[in-house]
Symmetry: D3
Subunit: 254 residues, 6 copies
């Protein structure tokens, strides 16, 4: 039962595409076919809310195209989960994103989790997401390691050192029992952290990929899939067509 | 002390521009110069999250242009408060939006408020906003009158009847002491509702306009203005320029 | 990559073992080997907290034995998730249970969920579990259909009718976008409900089985498994042995 | 459109009346006529709840008298917001107070705020007020500078130093993006703090004055004023008169 | 071990003094000596917040006098718990009040409780008290029977009928397992309600009397008494004396 | 009015029975007859959730036997309050436990309390209990003194020193106004702590004993006793008998 999954790096650089795919290939199910794409234009990271806003249309277009091309699932590869609700509103395929997927795993691994971010700047929006997801009560703390998205893979040694240090503090001072890496670009560090700290460390790329596989299976085997009423109710295509939104934004809404 | 305020109808139709301006002129301060704009393309309402996503770049561009042109404030005229955080992230002028502004008023007018929306579809996102704003505890209820954004001004009699009916139920059954109209296109009805129901009714166009005036005055007189650290910290312009985001998206970020 | 999973019906009757296994075989992964067991003594359902208490030792013994026998995961088949924390405290294999697993799925399928229970009696404990899991904010409502655990499969037609009715009310009146069946004995009804109501319906047997497969894979592929500090920290075996608890309670703690 | 506003220092000393008025005159609107009064008897500060209780009748009498004299608004000048609900219950004019007004501003200036108080003693009551106002989620922290109400203006240099130090800690350690001065007697320090710390600092005298102007305008222009049902419903004057409460307490209730 | 307890009806009528004492004598411990007082002036009920404000000084004076006269405890006999914090701030004896005492009992009698009030008007303040006490989560609902404080004993039959009806609805529709009578003037009805409804009904006069006995015993036997730091920290008597507050308000603060 | 109360040390050692009884005799009411029992088998402390599970049946059997023998109340002597709900479900006598009883006292003694535990391991379960009891908002903090249940009475000097140190930190850093000793084996230290720290310290053995006396009196004098619907609804004895649960588990359920 083959599953086709599209990982979207929602940024204007393909810098992470190959190494991320290599990493994900190690943990994907053997029946999963994984593709990784990024955008032709746009910011190279999404540390600011305005950067997210700039890639909104590209994310939605890419997901609708994936649906047309027969993908079973798409992953929006940024821990802010940008445009996740919007994507589900207009698509019938499975769409996942790192923060929500990490929660779906973390809630069964321990009492409280700490999210380790790059910069303090990221915390307000992530805290708002936790509130929206209803999971604020399970948060032990946020910890920042004072590095940017583009630093993690460039300064691997320093990143690893700071991640382990932040994780240790979270465990000893904040009561964390589970650690979550709050950025997809923090991929590749979780194994070493698990060995050093002896607690589960949820990698923000593994979580949404595996959760996507899980949801695809639930949909195929039991027909359980995201609700199309309320939050994820679609706009009527007649309206979209009447307004010409598909051509205007080059998105195959139908 | 003249204040220049730009009201943005973040939709691809100028349908509401003139009547809304007429209505707002009745309540604006005499030293406020108000302009109203809408977009050249895009959906005619923002009932769906995906419609909001499509106008994100236009909202940000319009606000940065307003800043360049010397406006003191901009209002994002949709009760979902779309891209309000993003706008504050990149601009130094005052930016307001209906939901947040209505809260800033409602908290002193009574114990609990009910938000009257057009369709049930709108409730999940608005409830998430209340959670993010931290004001869920003050909510009495949401009430839906089963009309769309484009119906309110077209079917005034029916709209008025349903608004009053929904308000009465909110007061009698849900403990509402204050009513908030959860859509800018519900403008013009609040006076009649206040007379019929004898409780304060917050119009979603008046609230952000007057709150914008209020914040402009606070800024001018006391230098109190939105924080530029954390949630509203700006991206460095060097980065924006290096990536060519200003030309790419035609937004004067500097 | 074969997975061995033990489903435990934590009751003193094998009434559900065969039909439940047949149902689960339809949705299990092809590499999953599923066994279903129940206890030799004890109550025939766990509607009362005291009934749960009576089977605590049996649940823990069965799970430790499963671990010895090489199972990869065990499922505690009751929506109260009885002794789930205790089981994780003493075992290294994956342990899941219906309520927590259903949450892990529901959070990505819609804004709010309703849990449909058999009797009002069940609600307080389930509500406490939601509080402990931190997910109370996502609850739309509980609905009771006034039938007991032993009625569902005996009165299928009536059960189906009431489940659909309760689901419809939850959607129309409480804002539910997702339905969760709050008892494992409500198995077999979700498909018909999905067809009638057109929203996702999470079956309380499918959720913990599939979530167990998911967690087993995460553990194997990425070494991500439940934390052994804090809430799930094990008692020292030296202490258990010194006190003779293993022989006393016939549980292979080591 | 002249507005008459009465600032009430609810204490038995006129110590703050003149300097506070001078300070407020710098930020009031040009059409605002501001008067400042204090009481003839009573405690010189309200650091203790019992001191507040002692001035309750004086606050209510002063506000009802202000209403008779044609004031448009009254401000209760203490950050505990003492008898704010009671005042609204019996008066038709606008009544504001520092804590609530500061919230109405702070919610749009940043993600979280810290309230800087004089003594730890003040925190429990202020925290209870935040809970009642429904805004606890937006609080970053309370910080105490270990000075009393009567110290701030007497030891300006020390006060300023400690305020800046407390503000810096709130920003760096607690995630505050906005600072609120939790005592009206902390007036005059906000400008220097804003310059030093580069975040908005809400002065507890400016906030309720400007918010009063704002609400007076809303009332005049749009008829939007505080609700008179539920929390702010008035007692019937027939009852008051029958019991002789007006003469008994020398308050013009009618 | 004799205990002297003063019940204060904080109103300007002695209407309830004798019948309430007779009722309380049936449930007081045999070593408790109970006195009941009311005030010489003031409103005849406290349904409005402003009425509470008017009796604040009298409540505090009465409690300080009781302390001087050797009482072990005082009860503030109104379900709003007016000036309870203030009273504890200045006195060393035990002070209780109905709402808090009812909570101290209700939390062990069932999952959720409903508070039955006379008028809807009372709900906002009582809900705020629940928030302050931290017990909102345990509330099933408020129910109003549309009768005033002075009606309950005058229209006993009607009151009893409505209380039972409201209780039944609370149980059947709101999930209440415990009922609390939200007014001291609702005394005398609980027994009949318990018989009719078969759930515990907490009488708002019994609760604070028995809780006062309980706290007096804890203080005598174990020295456990209310904290004098933070919320209940006393103002320094030197300050009170310097300002002449004791003579000014005729309260023996020392 | 004699009260017979059974204190249950729910562990397989009588180590604490005599000293605890001696301590409790100092604070019990003179009409209380106190017996203390422990179990013949089982763990010597309940620091782990699995240890609790092992004594569940023994707790329930002991309480039902106590009921048969005419006890008026039983106390489950462990701060996790193990099987408190289950015990109330099947018994008509008063059942109390330390955590819940401590809350019933603490809520009137100060604004916030700190619970001082032996090990960090205990915190997650106790925090979950606070959530279930609805009192999380009143918690200042948990403090751990890094000692086990069996250390407290063996290393009295060290225990006392650490308890006082932890209490001091809680007061100075966390805003605690009341301290609660989070383990029954921490008995005997509260007096010295109260003298040193000058705040109320709730002993986890005194609280449930005195609360049990209080509830027994409420039941006798006013018929107010725990609800038998919803959370504490009993299973029907016909079912228990049909399944043979009484003989199977040697518990006199009838």
């Amino acid at each position: 039962m083959e599953r086709r999954i599209l990982w979207i790096n929602p940024i204007g650089t393909n810098l992470f595409d190959i190494p991320m795919k290599e990493n994900l290939n190690k943990v994907k199910d053997k029946e999963t076919i994984l593709d990784v794409v990024s955008f032709e234009k746009g910011p190279s990271h999404l540390e600011y809310q305005v950067y997210e806003a700039l890639v909104g249309t590209d994310i939605l277009r890419t997901i609708k195209n994936a649906e047309k091309q027969g993908y079973d699932a798409a992953v929006i590869g940024c821990f802010y989960d940008p445009f996740l609700s919007e994507a589900r509103e207009i698509s019938n395929i499975v769409v996942t994103a790192p923060a929500e997927s990490s929660m779906a795993i973390a809630i069964s691994l321990g009492h409280k989790f700490t999210i380790i971010v790059g910069r303090k700047k990221w915390i307000p929006q992530m805290e708002e997401n936790l509130l929206r997801y209803g999971l604020k009560e399970r948060l032990a703390s946020f910890k920042s390691i004072d590095l940017g998205v583009l630093d993690f893979q460039n300064k691997k040694e320093e990143t690893e050192k700071r991640l382990i240090e932040a994780g240790r503090e979270a465990i000893e001072e904040d009561g964390a029992e589970v650690l979550i890496l709050g950025c997809t670009a923090e991929f590749g560090f979780y194994r070493k952290m698990q060995e050093s700290l002896n607690v589960p460390v949820i990698d923000a790329t593994i979580a949404p990929l595996k959760y996507a596989e899980f949801l695809v299976d639930l949909k195929r085997l039991a027909g359980i899939k995201h609700s199309r009423i309320g939050k994820y109710e679609s706009p009527p295509y007649t309206e979209i067509k009447a307004w010409g939104l598909d051509r205007m934004f080059n998105i195959p809404f139908e």
